[in-house]
Homo-oligomer: 299 residues x 2
């Protein structure tokens, strides 16, 4: 089973019970527009935390009826984040979303030892990209969270990503661990890490997926490149998930998809007890909507 | 002055005296096809070094008349590389090109202390990419040579790239030093390196270009992203050259351009006394031709 279009995420989300989404510091027009679109489509109910007057003014301006959302009036952005996280912790919300607030402020609330919602030791960013240049959706991790993940963190990053695709119905997603080469070179740690992760997969230390690496990006996604370079691999040319060596490369790859190609993407932070939708100012409204749909589909 | 299409490289090459290209280990059909195309267009004269019988058979098969090229008969690939390098060293060739031989074998000849043609302390890979997703050609370095360049090596990499664009007529190319963020975070050395390189440029330690960084890729190339994030920069949204943090990210960005977008590119290794055309098996014939044209245009 492979997903080929991001619209399918909306279909998946609609098949499930409607989800409660807590928007931290919600006085943010582009965020409210995406949330409102998801409300109209029918797969989320929002709880908007932040300054009442600003939120209700913005909501009225974009045509959101006031019986379609709830507001918790809170001026302080850190407190607004804490409340949103608490809603997830107490089962009052299924999805957390960032509004007009610094990422660090929201993550502080998420990661708080006492009141946070960290579930695993590693939170990671996962994006699902759609492009005419690939035959199916392409997962990509990690473009935003882990600066230089070590091998143990990479294991968690893979587990987080595989869990998402399994929740979307994939049986055994194909995971390509990227490096600049297809052989082990200990001067290039991304290549050694990739070989270790592949070996862990063969020995069932890391299961639920088929891992291969080191693979350069062309080999991971292009059957022609694979044939040209005579690579034999179950993953090459057909990867479902790309694991990048580190944040430098993950961030650049994600942004190359979005800004130097026809990329559209859904993305979430995973590893907390609920998915966190943490879109950027420069994401389009459609990408924000797809991210909410991905979060709703996997909870 | 900005170049907008790779075909312009062929026009530039045609305006200059015809260049001698030495092809090391030339019994390689795709390489010979690209060389032959450049011969027909009229901007190179090839000297093909390698096994006479194989080369002449391949040349005949692709319709290359035997008065359009010279063969130096040599079975051993390392010796063939040494001869090709010696031709450059003695002024008998202007461009070096890799044929059917490992990159390491050719580079061994290039870098040889006594008989090599290393001119600067740092050789680097430079690619000029054409895409409908950017308003002009986009330089990218380094996708293939330097694994983890330190700040001094990054200075050389920038100098190598700027020199190429200057030879193509650019007055003051705009250089974006990439990182995953737009501020300095000492936990992310790519961001500190970028800030240092920018400062060196402001203080004229590194001149002939306008450098800005750290810049995330979206900010470097998208005026919309720049405005969304309220970044003020002479380079942002309009970069001519992208400097990647390291080989992991450079290789992934180059391959994302070529395999997850509509990318076409010309690329050379620079920093030796002649440009080295070192295309990959998975490059298209057109990309190989553009690379030869770039090499001819800058010598």
């Amino acid at each position: 089973m492979n997903l080929t279009g991001l619209d399918q995420l909306i279909q998946y989300a609609l098949k499930k019970p409607r989800k409660k989404i807590a928007v931290a510091s919600a006085a943010d027009k582009p965020v409210l527009e995406a949330v409102f679109e998801a409300v109209k489509l029918g797969f989320v109910e929002p709880c908007l935390i932040g300054p009442f007057r600003e939120i209700s003014t913005l909501a009225a301006r974009i045509g959101m009826k006031n019986d379609t959302y709830e507001i918790i009036d809170e001026e302080d952005t850190q407190v607004a984040c804490n409340i949103a996280v608490l809603m997830v912790k107490t089962g009052k919300a299924d999805i957390l979303m960032k509004g007009m607030v610094q990422t660090a402020t929201l993550l502080k609330a998420v990661l708080d030892k006492e009141n946070g919602i960290r579930k695993k030791d590693t939170l990671s960013h996962f994006a699902l990209c759609q492009t005419r240049y690939y035959h199916k959706l392409l997962g990509l991790t990690d473009a935003a969270m882990n600066i230089f993940p070590n091998i143990h963190e990479k294991v968690r990053i893979i587990e987080n990503a595989v869990e998402i695709l399994q929740r979307l119905g994939y049986q055994l997603p194909k995971v390509a661990v990227l490096a600049p080469i297809e052989v082990v070179n200990t001067k290039i740690p991304s290549s050694s890490d990739a070989a270790l992760l592949t070996s862990m997969n063969r020995k069932n230390q890391l299961s639920g997926c088929i891992i291969d690496g080191p693979l350069a990006l062309d080999i991971a996604i292009s059957p022609e490149a694979m044939i040209h370079k005579s690579i034999v691999s179950e993953v090459a040319g057909d990867a479902d998930i790309l694991i990048t060596p580190d944040l430098n490369s993950g961030n650049i790859l994600y942004k190359a998809r979005m800004f130097l190609s026809d990329g559209m993407a859904a993305s979430v932070i995973t590893g907390a007890s609920a998915p966190v939708v943490l879109t950027s100012r420069s994401d389009s409204e459609k990408n924000k909507l797809y991210s909410i749909a991905l979060a709703a589909a996997i909870t």
